[in-house]
Symmetry: none
Subunit: 422 residues, 2 copies
Amino acid sequence: MERPGPRPGKRFVFVLCDGLGDRPLEPLGGKTPLEAAETPNLDEIARLGVSGIMDPIKPGVRPGTDVGTLANLGYDPYAYYRGRGPIEAAGVGIKLRPGDVALRGNFATIDDRWIVIDRRAGRIREGTRELAEALSERVKIPGVEVLFKEATEHRLVVVIRGEGLSDKISDSDPGATHEGEPVRRVEPLDDTPEAARTAEIVNEMLRQAHEILKDHPVNVGRVKRGLLPANAIITRGAGMVPDIPPIGSLYGVRGFCVAGESTIVGIARMVGMDATIPPGATGNIDTDTIKKAEVALEALKKGYDFVLISVKGPDIAGHDGNIEGKMEIIRKIDAMVGRLLDEVSPDDTYIALSADHSTPCSVGDHTADPVPVAIAGPGVRVDDVTRYGERDAAKGGLGRIRGVDLVPIVMDLMFRTKKYGA
Amino acid sequence: MERPGPRPGKRFVFVLCDGLGDRPLEPLGGKTPLEAAETPNLDEIARLGVSGIMDPIKPGVRPGTDVGTLANLGYDPYAYYRGRGPIEAAGVGIKLRPGDVALRGNFATIDDRWIVIDRRAGRIREGTRELAEALSERVKIPGVEVLFKEATEHRLVVVIRGEGLSDKISDSDPGATHEGEPVRRVEPLDDTPEAARTAEIVNEMLRQAHEILKDHPVNVGRVKRGLLPANAIITRGAGMVPDIPPIGSLYGVRGFCVAGESTIVGIARMVGMDATIPPGATGNIDTDTIKKAEVALEALKKGYDFVLISVKGPDIAGHDGNIEGKMEIIRKIDAMVGRLLDEVSPDDTYIALSADHSTPCSVGDHTADPVPVAIAGPGVRVDDVTRYGERDAAKGGLGRIRGVDLVPIVMDLMFRTKKYGA
């Protein structure tokens, strides 16, 4: 017997907006920025689809971007999140091996008593590649290999590779509120010999790095120009690569990610997606969202059937308490979705709108407020919701779901899930 | 102080419709079969009760009927599902003991190279009892007892009883898409000696079964009449009986199940319910739903206070993409509930409508789409929903719950749950 339509769609475009959710704001007459902004294209997804609200992790848990994004991709962060280091390593293109310990780091300026003068070495932007190369070449620690790779601006990634390591070690970075204090000695965080050994390796690495960096020509040049030298590194977020099943192995999809910053690229690569930061895409409100839409459309044409578009801007505006800025980036996201809808139809493609967490302008930081979600595409149980916004979504047919539910729900709509039982 | 009414009800009738949930269908103008069919009695339950949507397992997980039904009865399948074999064994009336390994099987036709000519032995329907009896009598394997019991049509159940067995063994049945291939050698699925031994036992059992069956008078007769002989058995779904607490021990209820097929009977028995397939009840659209209602009413009169009525038909129609058939069986379920309401009142009895999973006509297989639920009875927080359908239910007062939640919710309404804490 022939089956009636509509048949399940074959592709999925996932628009994930960092920090999109908000709270009612007095200057907006009690509306949220998403409720106040004109968003005809986002509303079209809600109108054609099914809406709901979503706790990225669970109610009352305030997510970081890393765990919120992992959860939005269907991976339980309690099982798969092993610190920021491995994500940043993947973001800068290092292929981690099982057992590697990855750390985030900053190039920093210290004095001769190891007091941190500037955690960002005068916000150094140039020469970090040469510095990282010098470190990779010259840091020598018996029994392990140490890799250094520059990241955005003053940031870098350090990878310790060898047998018998542990990521249960403390940070050497004293943190933003402790500038003027010494670089912290790295300590083991549990009683294993692996943690003790790894802490010692990182301390020795920090010592050698200072020796190598302090006289490096890049720094000699900086001092001559009156700039702070990048004469040390400070580390945080040690983690080992999680044993994470690639998204292709779970659902048979080919994943591609269009992002504005390397953390999202790192998470995407960690779950087996290809990823890019297109020219013009940034992690801020000034990002070129139309370019992002076009790169996503190209990826679909190349045969990727799961395309994630991440937009960081709403989170930045939320952190800054910048209501106008948040509405501006929301309008730019709306234009991006409009550009997608020029070439992609919910008649054969699933389009979902979501967020990794809320960053209310009234708070200036991430909160656990649920985020609005909407899914359009063949076969969804279209509901009455006609606006994409926090409170409209709460009336939708999805009810209240969790971050890890969204991708499985869409993969089931695509008939890509395995049956449990018989 | 005297308590105001209504007092909690004392009985629960649970109507569980296999594969009932669906997706919007083009031939129905975007309605689902449940939304499109006239269902005054189902709607009455929704009108008098509280509605919601339910993920049988969790969002995005596509349930089989076995795990979906276990979950609907309040048992977490991740804890209690041990494969289909034990369920089928219970379905045909074998009382399994702890340590028994039960397998589903087919009578099949193989050639002298053990190539599977027909996985169903020409859909044999007669003589399987004699064949199973011959096997139980004549298969001899040192250290274990082997029981054979015929099931519906070409199916049977095999039980290996003895010490030191394991259910971690592969299937000998090559599967529907591999007819024309040899019977598979059963292999251990882990490194334990128990799995290796059990695999060897099953292989030896298959060898002896062929020797016994090939010259059995039933098969000699079949060949004479030009029918394929049931000259072998093929096995799948090995499992051991789970250590599952009877529903009576959890809530003090006496459970009875009215079903149309042996799988549901097996699950009901496994959780300690009595169960029957009444005359006229089938696993298809042609089932006599009025008879089922009458048998359920008799069970209530006999003192059973938890009566499950399972109707398989919607699943069959969904698998076939048969919209008209799905609407027909839905109308028959509606008439069944009408018959129940002739004699049972939600003033003193809980009546719940649910499903083990969705089987959308547009997909032709189980999906993870949530199913609609409605619960009527004394004290429920009656909501605004007046129709029993996927999208009406989503607006109901229950919100979005999980399969394992439903029975505990009703048992709590009946004041049959234990207090947690003090």
